[in-house]
């Protein structure tokens, strides 16, 4: 599989956010994240699970180095190639699908063979089209291909399945599972959907309401890929109960 994208050197990801605040319109500062600490082993797949509006996207941006306005630390600070899949596909509408996928390739790899990646994501027939002609599912695939094309050391995924039909989402989950296992890239995946996380990840991080911190960490030892629907359903139910309990205790305290 020499033409498949592979991670350079899978590396661990460490993120510590002591505080992250926004300045509101009236000038007061609102703390959105506090005492947040996360460590992902090299090559592992972590999922951040939390209610919408709890700052998940902000955490991803900090992890990506796109937002440096926080107190804390991030390791590695700038090193390593990054693949980022945004919630909106964010393709360039004036470039074809193929040009978009190759957008971030360094000049000396501009013509690298991506057949395998493109085939896995089912984009073969769509390379010459423009993003405006694509369905959301195809546009997401193109965005995922763009992220894998750079052979990332780190992959950050922001709700890649949101607003897709369940059938499309299920296929995309399989493809993503195949790609991440094959490339062993260190992945941080943000979602509000616990079942998606339980199906894909080997480490789960549950987030609290604002100011956001991690209230529960859970390792799933069952091998990724081939987790049965029953496993996903029962694990999710069990975790949901534990998190509800923690939330209840939190609000009492």
């Amino acid at each position: 599989m020499n033409d498949a994208p592979t991670a350079g050197d899978a590396a661990p990801l460490e993120l510590r956010i002591d505080a992250k605040s926004y300045r509101s319109a009236d000038g007061t500062s609102i703390e959105v994240i506090s005492n947040f600490e996360l460590r992902l082993e090299a090559g592992s797949f972590g999922a951040l699970i939390g209610p919408s509006g709890c700052g998940k996207t902000t955490i991803l941006k900090i992890a990506a180095g796109l937002d440096a306005d926080f107190s804390g630390s991030r390791r590695p600070p700038g090193a390593g190639r990054l693949g980022f899949v945004f919630q909106e596909p964010r393709l360039l509408p004036w470039r074809t699908v193929e040009q978009n996928i190759r957008l971030a390739l360094p000049a000396d790899q501009a013509d690298v063979d991506l057949t395998d990646l493109i085939g896995t994501l089912g984009l073969d027939q769509h390379l010459a089209r423009y993003p405006g002609e694509l369905s959301l599912g195809l546009a997401r695939r193109a965005a995922i291909a763009r992220a894998f094309a750079v052979r990332p050391d780190f992959l950050l995924l922001d709700e890649p399945f949101v607003s897709l039909d369940e059938a499309v989402a299920a296929r995309l989950r399989e493809e993503l599972l195949a790609l991440t296992t094959r490339t062993k890239v260190t992945t941080l995946f943000v979602t509000h959907d616990l079942e998606d996380a339980v199906e894909l990840a080997d480490r789960l991080f549950f987030l609290s309401e604002r100011p956001t911190r991690i209230i529960l960490e859970q390792t799933l030892s069952a091998p990724r890929g081939g987790r049965s629907e029953e496993f996903v359903a029962s694990t999710s139910t069990e975790l949901r109960a534990r998190v509800a309990q923690l939330h209840a205790n939190g609000s009492k305290a």
Binding site: L66, L92, W94, Y130, G132
Partner: protein
């Protein structure tokens, strides 16, 4: 296509009828003007004068577009730059073309540099204002994407920034071309020994309407050709991706 053609034919017919009725040296008919134009082309006089003017149009247009795009982009991206440069822009926008031309000729001298600079300065504020709007309208999400994928300077400009600015570039070059060639004629009239503006000036002092009309019309035709053979196709090319159905 045919309504346009009809409109053009009507214009020429009206002109011919008016000329025949007036029967005056001051309003020659289309046939007289056409014959004079052909003679001027054969003698090489008209092509030479047009080339002089066209050279000035291209030079000052290029200077105004490049300088204006860079300045406008900087002002659209940075509030500080905008606050600093905005008063200058307002002064420049409101300075009459003639004043700029006179200043340039007096301070720099009656030469080519002064002529081209005067024209460029007249066009500049409009380019700046349009490109500033373009820079303000840049999509922050694409900008963030480019940063996440570590797209560096030139690649970012080429793939992300310039395609977004293309409609603004097209708009300012369209309006720019017409402003520039009109002002070039004035600059030539006042202080150059050649070019269409110079010829018009000397023909004016002789009341030579045949010459005035043949140069004016030839030059308008040339500018229309540039617009439809160069500017419009470039614009279509830049907007290719837009025409596709979603």
């Amino acid at each position: 296509m045919w309504p346009r053609l009809l409109s053009l034919v009507t214009l020429i017919v009206v002109w011919a009828v008016a000329a025949a009725l007036a029967h005056s040296r001051l309003l020659p008919g289309p046939v007289t003007v056409g014959a004079a134009t052909l003679a001027e082309i054969r003698s090489g006089e008209l092509p030479f004068q047009m080339a002089c003017t066209l050279g000035r149009v291209i030079a000052s247009f290029a200077i105004a577009m490049i300088l204006g795009s860079v300045t406008g982009y900087a002002m659209g991206r940075s509030k500080t730059t905008d606050r600093f440069a905005d008063p200058w822009l307002i002064v420049l926008i409101n300075l009459p073309a003639l004043v700029v031309i006179i200043f340039a000729y007096i301070w720099i001298g009656l030469n080519e540099t002064a002529a081209i600079l005067a024209v460029a300065l007249n066009k500049l504020p409009n380019v700046i204002a349009v490109m500033r709007e373009g820079a303000r309208a840049l999509d922050p999400e694409l900008d963030e994407m480019a940063r996440a994928f570590q797209l560096a300077g030139f690649a970012r400009l080429r793939h992300v920034v310039i395609p977004q600015l293309a409609p603004y570039l097209a708009a300012s070059s369209r309006s720019g071309l017409s402003i520039v060639w009109k002002i070039v004629l004035v600059v030539e009239l006042i202080g150059r020994p050649n070019g269409v503006g110079f010829v018009l000036g000397s023909a004016f002092s002789l009341f030579d309407m045949v010459r005035i009309l043949s140069y004016a019309i030839s030059f308008i035709i040339l500018m229309l050709l540039i617009e439809s053979l160069l500017v419009q196709p470039l614009e279509r090319r830049a907007n290719r991706w837009r025409r596709r159905p979603a």
